[in-house]
């Protein structure tokens, strides 16, 4: 499919509409829309954008969208993508703002919310499985995965500190390779 600005906006608007239960499902949604259906980018690129999107400040779903949008149509594409991803959130809050408190007290709304929480879990699991294939490619990357996972899940280490850790490991790895080869 052609990557017009309108198509980019429309695609991200759709993803933004389905972005339930926090921004984390952005990854499986983009996999489905951009890789499987439209073939605009590949798994490797999305995995890279997702990792980078977590490494910069701001809202991850927005960051990933901007990376993808830029890749598709440079700055204009980035703007189209971020407007698309944010607009459903914007509209729904503006429409619901006045009745928010009443809504969350409705029992059936809470039940739906509970169910969607489980759906989000399976999507996160599937996403981890997919990016595992692209990111954990050898022993060293496997170590990085488990260190970040355990520090984050068990010790609640702030994500930013783990990202900085990963960046240092990357720099250190390259640096030590250079030393081994006797370069300076």
């Amino acid at each position: 499919m052609e990557k017009t600005l309108y198509q980019i906006f429309k695609t991200f608007f759709k993803v933004g509409t389905l972005l339930l239960g926090g921004g984390y499902v952005i990854l499986p949604l983009l996999q489905s829309e951009l890789i499987d259906k439209k073939k605009w980018i590949d798994d490797d690129e999305l995995c890279e954008f997702y990792a980078l999107g977590q490494s910069v400040p701001g809202i991850i779903a927005a960051n990933v969208s901007i990376f993808v949008g830029y890749k598709l149509r440079r700055t204009a594409g980035a703007i189209a993508a971020v407007i698309g991803i944010v607009m459903p959130a914007f509209i729904s809050i503006v429409v619901l703002a006045k009745i928010l408190e009443e809504i969350i007290q409705l029992k059936f709304v809470q039940s739906i919310f509970w169910g969607v929480g489980i759906g989000v879990l399976i999507l996160i699991f599937l996403a981890v499985k997919e990016i595992w294939k692209k990111s954990v490619v050898d022993k060293f990357s496997c170590w990085i995965f488990f260190i970040t996972f355990i520090l984050s899940a068990c010790f609640k280490a702030p994500p930013a500190s783990l990202i900085i850790f990963a960046i240092f490991m990357g720099l250190w790895l390259q640096f030590s390779k250079k030393i081994e080869r006797g370069e300076k």
Binding site: I59, N63, I122
Partner: protein
């Protein structure tokens, strides 16, 4: 001037919250304390509502705070401000990446960032699992898992099925 204040506060969040999602929460609670645009109670309601409305929680709260303080224009200002730092920073990084894509250090950092990103997402999943799951939830999760093994499905499939099952389960008090 309320618009400038909204801009400054939410631009600040966009610029300094690392790790997304719930990393924005301390900032948002701080705003509740200092600016009185919303109360802490309203914020926790907002966070609950964010789970059922589309979009990242940071965007939802920005829109909500802007809207309650100064209507649609305020909502627009706050939402744009929270996104603007991302837009600027990510475009700059994208431009740099194009230039330095073949640099060994850049490649090495991307190589280590990917498993770290994967590890962080896995940790989010575990955290959500531990905090939200009950026996019936496990059964639903197992069902969805089996469905995922047979063929590759649209994410919408999982969200729709789990929403419907949740709705029905609610009638039988299985969600508590």
């Amino acid at each position: 001037m309320i618009y400038i204040k909204l801009f400054l506060e939410f631009f600040h969040i966009g610029l300094f919250s690392f790790g997304g999602g719930y990393a924005t929460l301390p900032f948002l609670y701080h705003i509740a304390d200092v600016q009185k645009w919303y109360t802490a109670k309203q914020l926790s309601d907002m966070i609950a509502v964010s789970s059922i409305t589309p979009g990242p929680v940071g965007v939802n709260v920005a829109t909500f705070a802007g809207f309650t303080t100064s209507g649609i224009l305020g909502a627009l200002v706050a939402t744009t401000s929270v996104i603007l730092p991302s837009l600027i920073i990510v475009i700059i990084i994208s431009k740099l990446l194009e230039q330095f894509k073949h640099n060994k250090y850049v490649q090495s950092v991307i190589y280590t960032l990917k498993p770290a990103g994967c590890g962080l997402l896995a940790a989010v999943g575990v955290d959500m699992f531990v905090n939200n799951i009950n026996l019936f939830g496990m059964i639903l999760l197992a069902g969805l898992f089996i469905a995922s093994l047979t063929e590759k499905r649209d994410p919408l499939f999982y969200l729709a099925v789990s929403a419907i099952v949740g709705l029905v389960a609610g009638f039988f008090n299985l969600t508590a």
